[in-house]
Symmetry: D2
Subunit: 409 residues, 4 copies
């Protein structure tokens, strides 16, 4: 039985667990060391550290202080790893904590983080998804269930000081271009809620002042939210500091491409079973700038899709130049509108696109002025037939249930 | 044997074939009528109407007048189709013309259209791909071969006058925001090279003056360049004019997501075997704004991928806000750099990404400020192993061959 | 365009085409020579040489003289191929003759060949399947259509004299154990209907007297009827005679595992696009006794199956020892019975199992005394839902159409 | 968290656990009751109840008393289930016991059970496979690892008295046709080692005298050893007694089609997470004789196979009539011989075929006199390339390790 080198107690605040941190900084001390070739287990909190509850109110989604996220387990030192190496991580398995077989999905209030479709869903909403073995189903979104494509939303190695400075300068400068925007353009360092792991005293205060927020994906990987980086996959991470310092968290039971609901996928507390190895000097040998990975041999095999197209003309008629973000938003809005014909509320449809294994493809990015993006919705996840036909759509969903909403105060 | 209702002679100029057109306009007369439930065959030119030749010079790619594209076969009238209906099109099969078993891929000069990576590849280059049954291989790009995911890059129904006006106003206004840009923001109507099918005389002149260019994908579908809209798939198109007026062309033997090389995928002349049907009033019943489709049950099954990540920090360090276009460009540049370690020139690597069935996924679009996109490169298409390992990359490609380049004059 | 090195004229008797033969014998002269690395096209008759017609009567299936089959195109000489080499054959593509876009399926009378379920279907029956692009549908079997997994039922190299003698002795001795059995245990050489290609005169008579019948699969491959040896696959054949002598025919548009209807799959005339190469001394190097092959990267992706189990207790209660043949027959009978609940006649259900891409798995062969076999029926090929449910099966097929039957005379 | 309604303690003899039984008999009392729609967890012993150990000796495989198997957990009563209903079982998940992350594979001595290739491997041998997350690897079989396709080898409902009598009469009569055969034709009831669950006293003795052995698959399912009946699949079982009486065990981490090594797949102790439901009168409605099932949406996606053919001519030249058992044996022997060219011992190669997700297809069963079977070996499970090529096979396996063998005493 592999050793569990990081444990988390879901009844305890993550701030009290010194094997957890919520900022990126090279000075955060390793909490455990492993050898290349070893396999081991790590437990993690959900990304909010337990703030979001399994209930029927979205008030917690509305009220959360987003400066506290993400609670990561680590950093783990790998013996012999040096800057310039590639750290090879096998995600041997990932799962939910047995005492916590559920996850949440939600949309933040536009005033508190927003999300991909925040102009259409400006208020906080939340759905709860029960995990039944390899499958999930929600009491707030009837008529749909699917197999989990379980993955860590966030995983990567500690940056060195130089990389950290690059990040901070880049993002702080960017915020300065529109500092009052709601939601903001980016999140600067914020010491008040920083959890710097085993750093203490002055060293902690110093590091907390410049520790990079965990929200965006960056050169080291980090919060990539790639649904296919799932259990069974193999990842090659650039190493920046001696020992690598691998940290991870933000586990998802399932997510659609884009994580368009932002809060988030089906978010859960859980564990990862990992094996690590090293390719010496791999960064230069292979010309690696961002992590690369190989997919799992075991993934859900849904193959009957209904595919929605979107182009970079926005929902108000505005023309954008080869903008895939706008094009994918149109494809998502098209899919939501389609699903409402079967009785779903827009919020339920949005929750499905955020949680189910939908694919988002960059289909065309050169045909000026319009990008084309496609959203692939697996039809097999529905309890009824959603294909178009001569009879027209049947209202299979009665509308007496919806995703709980918490109005802004 | 199904009837071939539109024939093309590749030795003849497409301007001499009155069953072909290269602009979108509701007044273009139907060239043939079919009944719902019927299946039939249509032949098409390659998108340039034969301008690009099977040789080892990129001068034709450099010199092409892009105002002549795309040469489409149609429009086909479907009996009983009315505005508001959905036209259901089964792509029963698609193939190359037997006398023309090759295709081309290229990058335009930045002065003449450019492309996704035009800042990195500013000059015209061209590769030729031989079609051997279900597979292709290029004398300009050694060490790689793959099965074709054959599809029409461009297919859709005629717009009505109102929709046409929306397009023209939207795009002309957009061009006006930066009229001297190279490459341009969009392409306005251009009568000089318009081919309006069977329209003649004054009617032709009038329509040519406002006929929409065929370059961008739009509400009706059009030049979507979706690689998965392949033979065997089923598409639901909005109908705008009586009879629908279905036209198509721009056949691709294979393409990567994004068609990042712009000129283009593996471009070929060929034929389509189609069946059409109608869902009455389907646009309103299903809330359709853009076409939707279902994938083919027969597609290449490559599943061992090497996946490259990109984030919306550009190659010069610039920060962009959740910009998937920038993120995908980084993923592409990362993959190109990786492939050069095995001996490919950057141009060869770029050509592989434009032609092979690579997937481009919108992985994360909410984690401010960085979008995350992934490029999935199937490893099985290479004659050698491209996976990372302790031994480092082997230079399997000797570098004595490259993709022909034609310098700007 | 690859050269067509063997042509067939479907309006001509195959006996008049000297590039065709219907027996295996080392003395049959090569009809064409190709070089390793070359690709070329071969045309073939359907296995009966045109005897079975596209009509609504099964009399031809009842009356056929089975000693005439199979009409093979070849043998093709490969320069440099010697006994002990492996001949590598790439099936670049396979298709139907454009002037003959249909195929047939049938069950022989028990008196004339029978078939897997001849005790249940003792009379001749026939269904016609129309080929519509990549798909097929039958006017005799409503409610079902599927993509073709096109393949040659029969392909292999000429035996040498020693191997031929082994075959003849083995099978003649076997017939002698029960010479009056109906259907027979095997088919001995039969000169009267032999077509020995370009052999003539005495040489022909001598060879015809001992030429092996083409019915069974043997060491060289031959009539394996493996549905997955489809277009796009790569096969490694043992070579027995100088030049290899590759012959093939018996094209199938689609077939279920087992080819249980015997007459046969969806049988058609067509063409193959091939490329050949040689692995010198490959038989000994790799210890090859029978051909081996790699599957195509392009195949139908049906994945939602209803799976029927069968065990080696026969339909009359008899116990058999680990007999997979009996077990698979039970699985087939179970599937047929199930399909009748939706309105199909047993003959229609049998035809579906013979033609659609059903899988037959050897599931357990060690749990004495019962083997377990499974039949995988893809649910997606039906126009309606065949899954079990609380509502019970709906009679979607009205029963006014059946597979034509020709009573024994 | 679902309730675990049957627990097993691996340190305790299964004979001491009254929620376990090793015979089929209608009188075995239910050990727990569940409601339709409920999900719950069941733990199981490995099929030998812990007799086979994680060590490097095959003596336990040689010495085991096979009359003790299989130790099943159950029977479970389902409220409302009546004879003639279909019991719908969702295998929500299946896994190994966390304290026992390993499994065994072996071949029995020909004197004690034998196996599919017992004439070639007449002595007891054993390999141990470590479970690392979703993957497995063996210290006795280097160079190969694969993802688990976890499944219960044995699952089914209690027979009623009439069905039990049919079984006993059928098999006892069969044994009588050759009572001294080694291995035997079948296994008769055997009271001495019977574990009848909660039956006690005279009732136990009576039932033990006629309780059917658990070895063969039968009408109710039972020991089908179908690798694809894996976690995530849905099964429809005929119900024979009030409450159904569902029992299961014999968990496999992975198995090849046929379970040709007999002892067995990768055998392990573990748990199942199940949900049950009922289709009233489903047996008659759907004409069900044996269980039917639908595959899991999550399974290993290996798709690059090397496929070996076998025909029904045995390894000594003997001719058999359409015998799939013989044909599959030849395909297996061909694959074993091929793998030895890369350095594997025959026993290691045999162990790979018994444990890895190889497919066994019934390819042709009508071409008299030869059946054709194919064995599909996934190439991706090997650490090196096993495809044929001009360079010939490389001896990647050095031969200093083998599968432990215990000679007959």
């Amino acid at each position: 039985m592999p050793e569990t080198i990081i444990k988390v107690d879901l009844t305890q605040s993550p701030y009290e667990n010194d094997m957890v941190h919520n900022r990126w900084h090279p000075d955060i001390p390793m909490v455990a060391w492993v050898k290349p070739g070893e396999d081991f287990v790590i437990e993690t909190y959900d990304w909010t550290g337990g703030f979001i509850k399994n209930n029927d109110s979205a008030e917690d989604v509305r009220d959360i202080d987003l400066s506290i996220v993400h609670f990561l387990s680590g950093p783990i030192g790998v013996e012999g790893a040096e800057p310039g190496d590639l750290l090879v991580v096998d995600l041997l398995d990932v799962g939910a904590k047995p005492e916590s077989l559920w996850g949440f999905n939600g949309f933040f209030s536009k005033k508190n983080g927003g999300g991909f479709l925040t102009d259409h869903f400006p208020q906080a909403q939340k759905s709860i998804w029960d995990i039944e073995g390899m499958f999930t189903r929600s009491r707030h979104v009837p008529g749909v269930s699917f197999a989990g494509l379980i993955h860590p939303g966030l995983i990567g190695c500690l940056p060195d000081h130089k990389l950290l400075e690059t990040w901070n300068r880049r993002e702080v400068d960017f915020i300065a271009t529109n500092p009052t925007r709601v939601p903001p353009l980016a999140n600067p360092p914020f010491a008040a809620t920083a959890h710097m792991g085993r750093l203490a005293g002055e060293a902690k205060a110093t590091a907390a002042a410049t520790g990079a927020r965990t929200v965006p994906p960056r050169e080291h990987g980090g919060n990539c939210d790639i649904k296919d980086l799932s259990r069974g996959s193999k990842i090659y991470f650039p190493v920046y500091v001696p020992g690598a310092g691998l940290s991870m968290g933000d586990l998802h039971f399932s997510q659609g491409d884009g994580e368009i609901t932002f809060c988030g996928a089906i978010e859960m507390a859980g564990w990862l079973h990992l094996k690590v190895d090293i390719i010496k000097d791999g960064v230069a040998k292979y010309g690696i700038r961002n992590p690369i990975f190989k997919p799992s041999p075991i993934t859900p095999n849904y193959r009957d899709y209904l595919i929605f197209e979107g182009i970079s003309v926005d929902e108000w008629g505005g023309q954008h130049y080869l903008d895939v973000h706008v094009a994918y938003r149109q494809a998502c809005l098209n899919a939501i509108n389609y699903l409402t014909k079967f009785g779903y509320t827009p919020a339920q449809a949005y929750a499905i696109l955020g949680t189910a294994p939908v694919q988002g493809h960059i289909s065309g990015v050169v045909d000026i002025p319009n990008a084309c993006a496609t959203l692939w919705l697996p039809t097999e996840i529905f309890d009824f037939d959603i294909n178009p036909g001569n009879a027209g759509p049947q209202k299979m969903i009665t509308g007496d249930i919806d995703v709980p909403l918490a109005p802004d105060l």
